[in-house]
Amino acid sequence: MEKEEQITRNNFISMVIWAVGGLISLGMGIPAIAYIIGPALSRNQVQEWIRLGPISKIELNIPTLFKFVIQRKTGWIVNEEEISVYVLTDNGRDFIAMSNICSHLGCRVRWISDQEIFFCPCHNGVFDKEGAVEAGPPPGPLDRYELKVEDDQLFILGG
């Protein structure tokens, strides 16, 4: 910085103008940022137990597809969304419930029964029947849902 200057009337006014302008910009800018990012950061509604159906429907060693509809609120719109879950058991007592959403980029996988694989058509991702990656670009196994059995009915935790 240069030598100390005396604050003239002109300098003072100029400083005040910059300060007030800065305050107004902050007063506008900070709410604007909150306004833009706010809804993006708000998490979805709470998870709850969703009934899939009777366990008698599930065949041994074959991933069985369950579909259900949930209500999802996005912005000011309430949508009905269909969720698909593959359930697998090898003994009729222990189950795993897998999401059909590919871990690569979010396309939907489907069970190809004669090859015994889950296949994702978007980028040829292949998973085995327990959801582990066999080939292709997916970085990890299929997501699993927490699940419970009550009165021979299967429930998963979702929402």
């Binding site: 506008m28 709410p31 604007a32 909150a34 306004y35 833009i36 706010g38 809804p39 912005g75 000011w76 719109i77």
Partner: protein, 219 residues
């Protein structure tokens, strides 16, 4: 450092000359009434900033307009503030622009050589009122709907061409999705473009010609 960058840019852009011409120009001794134009400009900037922010969530269809406005007001963080600033800023701007015009009239500042500044100012007044008229419909609530029903009907009162004007403004016989969409398009594209262009000319003339002094008895 800042001075160095400033100098480097000044050698190429001569920005200090521009800065001086705009902000450090010589003006006659005037009073606070001469700030009304700047106040209008400030409000216009406020409307532009808050208006752009509102378009991030607002949806101009009968299905979604009301709900998206409610969403902005009650759900989005600071949405009430952004909408409030736009809402009250709109009224304030009409008031400020009219006061600015009154000062020009009473001080005779519209006279030679400032006639063109005055003409552009009149256009800006009409544009501001156009903003108010089109923006009023966008919340798509009862007040908006009936105010626009009445407003467009008034526009339809001139003989011979009235019916035609009414149809053009509404985009059909009735107030509908078509009306809402065209009001929105006019509000966020047509009028802002005109406002910006005419404001630039208006400001250029204010700077080029200089502002008038307070009229006095002498001379």
């Amino acid at each position: 450092m800042a001075t160095k960058i400033g100098n480097w840019l000044d050698e190429r852009l001569a920005w200090r000359q521009v800065w001086t011409a705009i902000f450090l120009r010589k003006i006659p001794k005037v009073n606070w009434l001469f700030t009304l134009g700047s106040a209008s400009l400030f409000l216009a900037v406020n409307q532009i900033v808050t208006g752009i922010l509102l378009t991030i969530y607002y949806v101009p269809t009968p299905d979604h307009a009301y709900d998206s406005v409610q969403y902005i007001t009650t759900q989005v963080p600071m949405g009430w503030l952004i909408r409030g600033l736009h809402h009250w800023g709109a009224s304030a701007m009409v008031v400020m622009v009219v006061l600015h015009m009154l000062r020009i009239i009473f001080y005779g500042a519209y006279k030679f050589p400032r006639e063109v500044t005055w003409f552009t100012g009149v256009i800006l007044l009409i544009v501001t009122i156009g903003f108010g008229f089109t923006g009023y419909l966008l919340p798509w609530d009862q007040k908006a709907y009936w105010a626009t029903t009445v407003g467009t009907r008034i526009a339809g009162t001139p003989p011979v061409i009235g019916e035609w004007i009414l149809l053009i403004i509404r985009g059909g016989e009735e107030l509908s999705a078509v009306t809402l969409a065209r009001f929105y398009g006019v509000h966020i594209w047509v009028l802002p473009t005109v406002l910006l262009l005419i404001t630039l000319i208006h400001l250029y003339l204010v700077i080029r010609i200089g502002i008038s002094a307070v009229p006095g008895r002498e001379e």
